[in-house]
């Protein structure tokens, strides 16, 4: 059972909402002692990214995790299309390989676009990393309701400032002043 806490829940939802037309992805962080808790997330890209920038982003987030006493726990991904096919896009396979070389027990958290508009279902699911031998099986995930409530509060009714304030690695590479650590998001909780 994987526990997705409020802060990463909020960051993932804000990232997905900021780029609703694009494929978005990011890394998940958890405590060093390997318990199945996700307690932070770093949004990475909203364009398909291959090669050096993906590698650099990984290294940077890994260093950031080390400096916070955390570990790289997984990868989140939201497909571009709301009702797209279930197959793993190329990016997920690429990242899966990269992540598996750093952390073989990492999880893939898929954002379920189809469940985002209603609140009836949990809009996330944990999948095994694609193409990785011995990857962990599909596990159930509990999502913090506080994270979802905070998202609804700061971005409902046409309010968009919170989404716009979230910074991903893509934006950081465009403008180094924008900080992908997103320390300010904690204020919304």
């Amino acid at each position: 059972m994987v526990e997705l806490q409020a802060l990463p829940t909020l960051k993932i939802l804000l990232h997905t909402a900021k780029y609703p037309h694009a494929e978005v992805c990011g890394l998940l962080l958890g405590p060093v002692n390997d318990v199945p808790i996700i307690d932070d997330a770093v949004p990475l890209f909203h364009h398909i990214t291959v090669g050096p920038l993906m590698e650099t982003a990984f290294l940077m987030v890994e260093q950031y995790a080390n400096s916070e006493g955390k570990r790289l726990a997984g990868f989140y991904h939201a497909a571009a299309q709301a009702n797209g096919p279930e197959t793993h896009p190329f990016m997920v396979t690429l990242v899966g390989k990269e992540l598996a070389s750093h952390r073989p027990d990492a999880i893939l958290l898929r954002v379920k676009n189809e469940a985002l508009s209603s609140r009836a279902a949990v809009p996330f699911e944990v999948l095994p990393l694609p193409g990785v031998e011995g990857a962990p099986k599909v596990e159930p995930v509990t999502v913090s309701p506080r994270g979802i409530q905070a998202f609804d509060q700061v971005s409902g009714n046409g309010k968009f400032a919170a989404c716009r304030s979230l910074v991903d690695m893509d934006e950081h590479f465009d403008d180094a002043r924008r900080d992908f650590r997103n320390r300010h998001i904690g204020d919304y909780l």
């Binding site: 609703p20 090669g51 716009r164 403008d175 180094a176």
Partner: protein
Amino acid sequence: MEELDQVLERGDSVAILRYLRHNRIRASAEVVQHGQGFVAKGKGSSLGIEAWPVYEQVFLAALDLGETLLAERALGLLRKQFPDSARVGRLVGMQAEAEGNYAVAAEVYKSLREAHPTDPVVWKRWVSLAKAQGDLPEAIKRCNEYLKVFQNDTSAWQELAELYLLTGHLGKAAFCYEELVLSGPSIFSHHVALAEIYAAMGGAESLRLARKHYAQSMALHQGDDNLRSLYGICSTCHALARCTHKSAHEDKSDAAVNGALFKLAVDKLKSHYRRVNPSMLPLVEVTLLQQAIGDASLKK
């Protein structure tokens, strides 16, 4: 070009919509917020001829947000004014796509293509339709057909490159960017994109091509927004050093170039962060250390 935030802060709806339109920014929530009033007023609005691009802009944003009534109203105003237009016709197709009626959209685009066989906008919707339906190979096929006719369409080459990347065809994506570099050799961002693809392909030959194009992009553009090249150089030089280290034909002069370029990029990165975001400098330095080429002087 002002920062988007500053423009939004001023609250001038017409200026905001104009800024978003001219810079092709897809900020649909803002567009609906600032544009829906004009659509509601319709002919009574104060926009003059700017009304038509604004209605189109609000229509597209409304589709993004699922605001079907607003979209319908905006579209109605446009259809009344421009009954035979291909540009408006394609909006009808997009409305069908947004509702998931791909068969209807296909019919709309088919008759538009018959009525306007040389209109690129209609043709591009035809490509996008395949993409929307999740049929990437078909989208690639259509995009290639389009490019046979409209060979100089930069954004189409970029779209095709992206489609190839999405389907894992790095070599073909590289070909698209080679075309772009050929037709626009002074555009630094094309060199960066091409370099990224070659770097992702891996292997000494591709890595050297990547390094060449990153270096060219740096020669063309030294500005603050070419961080991708600097990071790309670090990663590519590191990968090259690793893969030629064990090769039988280790080229000493190339290794020297490699090391020099790496050091240049590292120094530029450090001074950039020192200037614009010093709080992140330690993190960047530690990251770059991971990619250091076995030169003791770099590990400071």
